[in-house]
Amino acid sequence: MKVAIRTVSIASAVLWVFLIAFAVSAVFSVKDFQLTFGELQSSISPENEVVFMLPVDIVNKGLYGISDFNVSTEIVDEQGFTLARGVTLVPLIGTGQTVNTTHQIKLKLNEILNGSTRFLFDDVDLRFAQTFSMKAAELIPVQASSNMSLSWGAPLYNFTLGRPQSSTEVVGQNEGYAGVAVPVSFENHAFFRLNGTLQVRVYNNVNVLIGTGKTSFDVPQGSAYHKGLMVDMTMQNVTSDGHYEVFVETPVFSVGPLVVPYV
């Protein structure tokens, strides 16, 4: 009996010492783990996706390796709808190892802008939810999460199409056709330069197409656009009210038809 008791005592003591030493050294080595984030950069991919890139530098000077290091990011709108998600996984960061990686979040702008015109015309507050998880000492799960507010700038903020301003100039040989100026204005609040074409179709109040016009534009970030778009219009079908159909095509997104009434 005494031998059994002694054996159990020794085994128990050894295991306790091992467990406590491991737990304390694992916690102690976490302080030698450095995680640095670079500046968030953005670019447009060949697939017309906006790519946010976050450089991540991981330095592990601790006593144990770090496994399953995972950075995941979600961009969520005000209604909780996930617009984009990015995941970066580093399977193992050994002792004394430095890992430099880039966390990417791809935003399918075309889908988002076609899905909701809010993002086209209104500045929206988005939630940028970031979660980092890892296994300290390859055993103890640690997770950190943060929420940031991200302001989405609308590329066509305050987009306005004025009433067609009739001109006396007769276009072409057929009478009844005239060049009409449609005042167009908006501000580019987006984080990218906006260039492309703007096509407008003018309909009268009985849905008859009475004119079309197209123009190109190039609006730097944070700048306003105020110009008159020349539309060739059939004057005989003009009514006092109606609507426009607007098509916007840029390298980043294509939207349309957007229906804008005029009176």
Binding site: I5, S12, L19, I20, V27, F28, V142, Q143, A144, S146
Partner: protein, 150 residues
């Protein structure tokens, strides 16, 4: 006859002093180990003061049981206290396991550390301590049992 009684009466204080010294040394060593380890854990304790309080409460209670157990050495109470100590460790760890995930907020960042695996191993080791205490008590009682002539 007189000499034996004198020897016994001299032996009792010596035994008490010996037990008290042993208890003091064991208690001091246990607390000393905690003190040294707590220096390494200082960054964590700074971040999570409640974790420090939990560990301190455990260490103090465990040390008291350890010291009292040593003072009652050689009696059946030693084994009761030994088992109480082991059961206390199991109970406390089970209580901690309920919230085995330690969460803290650092400004806008919230951090969660999942210690359930470590706590599970600790509970299993404490159960080993309970088993050891039971074996010791059984051994003590069997040694004390007087042989009966058949």
């Amino acid at each position: 006859m007189f000499d034996e009684t004198k020897k016994d009466s001299e032996g009792v204080p010596r035994k008490i002093v010996f037990r008290a010294s042993k208890a003091t040394i064991k208690g001091s060593v246990f607390y000393g180990v905690y003190f040294v380890l707590s220096q390494y854990m200082a960054p964590v304790f700074t971040l999570i003061p409640s974790f420090q309080h939990m560990i301190e409460a455990f260490v103090i209670t465990y040390t008291v049981l350890l010291v009292v157990g040593e003072l009652t050495g050689g009696t059946v109470y030693q084994h009761f206290l030994s088992m109480t100590k082991a059961l206390f460790a199991v109970g406390y760890l089970m209580f901690l396991m309920g919230s085995g995930v330690i969460s803290l907020s650092l400004g806008s960042v919230s951090v969660a550390v999942d210690l359930r695996l470590i706590l599970t191993i600790a509970v299993l080791l404490s159960l080993l301590g309970v088993a050891k205490a039971v074996l010791e008590a059984v051994n003590y009682m069997s040694e004390r049992a007087e042989p009966t002539a058949l």
